[in-house]
Symmetry: C2
Subunit: 336 residues, 2 copies
Amino acid sequence: MTLVPVSEVRAKAEEALLKAGADPDNAALQADLLIEAELRGVPSHGLLRLERLIRRIGNGAIDPRTRGRHDWRGDGLLHVDGQNGLGPVVARAALDAISERARRLGVAAAAIVGSNHIGMLSYYVETIAAQGQVAIALTTSEALVHPYGGRTALLGTNPIAIGVPTSNGPFVIDLATSLVSMGEIHDRAHRGQPIPEGWALDAEGEPTTDPEKAKHGAIAPFGGAKGYALGLAFELMVSSLAGAALGRDVRGTLDDTAFCNKGDLFIVIEGNSGQGEAFSRYLDLIRQTPPEAGYERVLIPNERALAQRAERLETGLPIADAVWNAVLKLSEEGKP
Amino acid sequence: MTLVPVSEVRAKAEEALLKAGADPDNAALQADLLIEAELRGVPSHGLLRLERLIRRIGNGAIDPRTRGRHDWRGDGLLHVDGQNGLGPVVARAALDAISERARRLGVAAAAIVGSNHIGMLSYYVETIAAQGQVAIALTTSEALVHPYGGRTALLGTNPIAIGVPTSNGPFVIDLATSLVSMGEIHDRAHRGQPIPEGWALDAEGEPTTDPEKAKHGAIAPFGGAKGYALGLAFELMVSSLAGAALGRDVRGTLDDTAFCNKGDLFIVIEGNSGQGEAFSRYLDLIRQTPPEAGYERVLIPNERALAQRAERLETGLPIADAVWNAVLKLSEEGKP
């Protein structure tokens, strides 16, 4: 593990993307997404992904210059053909466009297809909530999750993020509808540790605690039947509005060559600024709830991530040696 | 338990509401919500609630004539002062208004405060999805749910419903962010049965399997930290947009006299009609997934409820004697 100053990581990641052919603004935004994930302790959405992005650019599966083509379907609904652009670049352009529309209309939404992995969803809703608007973000993924009671992976991890303005800054949640991420299962496999019962099934649909077997099987939905229902509804809703692929037809976030055909959905609603303080008081009340036996304290979503971010801005980013060496090589050569 | 033809239940429930002072249209809609819940096997949102509604009308906490006051905040965002109207009446008027706006704008939303309990959320999103639009519905409630790791009830049960059009009719989910409903805990108490570990805490914040103690305590969020995060985000988002009360300040869905100050939020997005068949094929694939050991088959959300509805339209509604007798008395006297 190497501790690298954020400015150095940023310079190298941007350099790598520039050499691969990205415009400067696009390189900066894509690098920022990866770095923010590292800052907040979500390495599965961090620098690990840079090599794959650059391979995909080299293979023509990502066009690092486009921001996507915008097609308004009514004054408030934006449909975006991502034109195989970098996920954060296409997402940001769409989100900025609907944020502006929501100022006038009260609400606007964007459905995106044909864009690449957009990274940590909280990034997007946090920036919108910081501007005083409520935001909902959804994205779909390759089929990694089994339906409740079923043996095979048919659903994406289908996360949701929500941002709400408060007088103490944005309140943010960001969670997958899978019980854990495939990244966590790979991490256990890497460290040779078993996974807890109930996390996953093997390729035959039998429960397993072996992460190597789980890698070829299916992750459980979180919260049983309810998490399954949510994940399925998100998959259908996003696919419906974006025109994106469904289930096992989804490609392009875990490989180097396929055009990415998942969907993203953003909804922005003009906030009611009058209640920010009531929200902060309510969150304080929750924070101060006496903890249940076995728990140290009650946490507010996203606060641990923000504390870690503040710390890492000072200390630098702890990056696995193999990942950092790959970033350095990419920044020198613009390819793996 | 009495088996009563739906037409007879409908006539008696409408009669009760008319005698209590509701307009005919409003009485029909409120009765329909209660009856649809009974048809779909959700008696906690069914006729059980009629007596409380009529007491609240008698006490001036419900105005059974108003449809709420509409205030457009931009072309696409409707804010509704419910004027203490019947929940379904105010919700339906708002939903119809934004459904029409979404036809033109692509998306529209309504935030409602000061309306009463709106009943089963699936009712609303199903009707919108049947018209080819995607719908999201949220509503808040009295604080009955403890934060993950905390001892006291600070969150509503904060359900979400989503409806998506498919070529085989609406796909619908409707779920609370609590692990179970307070109605289920009352039902166990009534039958003298213990509740499973993990469902609830007692008034001191200790885990309990005694439903009598759980009634005065707090229900767990579903899915641990993730369900807690979702429920909290829904509470803040709805409250923010509607101007509704938060947490323990919420009143008026479980008592006979307080003005109801929870919030409701609806979002309607114009659908993309081109994919209906792909959705039906995908749902078939899920339905046909080989079941895990211990499961009979994989279920699609809402399908069991719809099958039960079809059956009960034929057989009549099985209604607890005490509930049916109360409905009969209310229909004769217009008060309890």
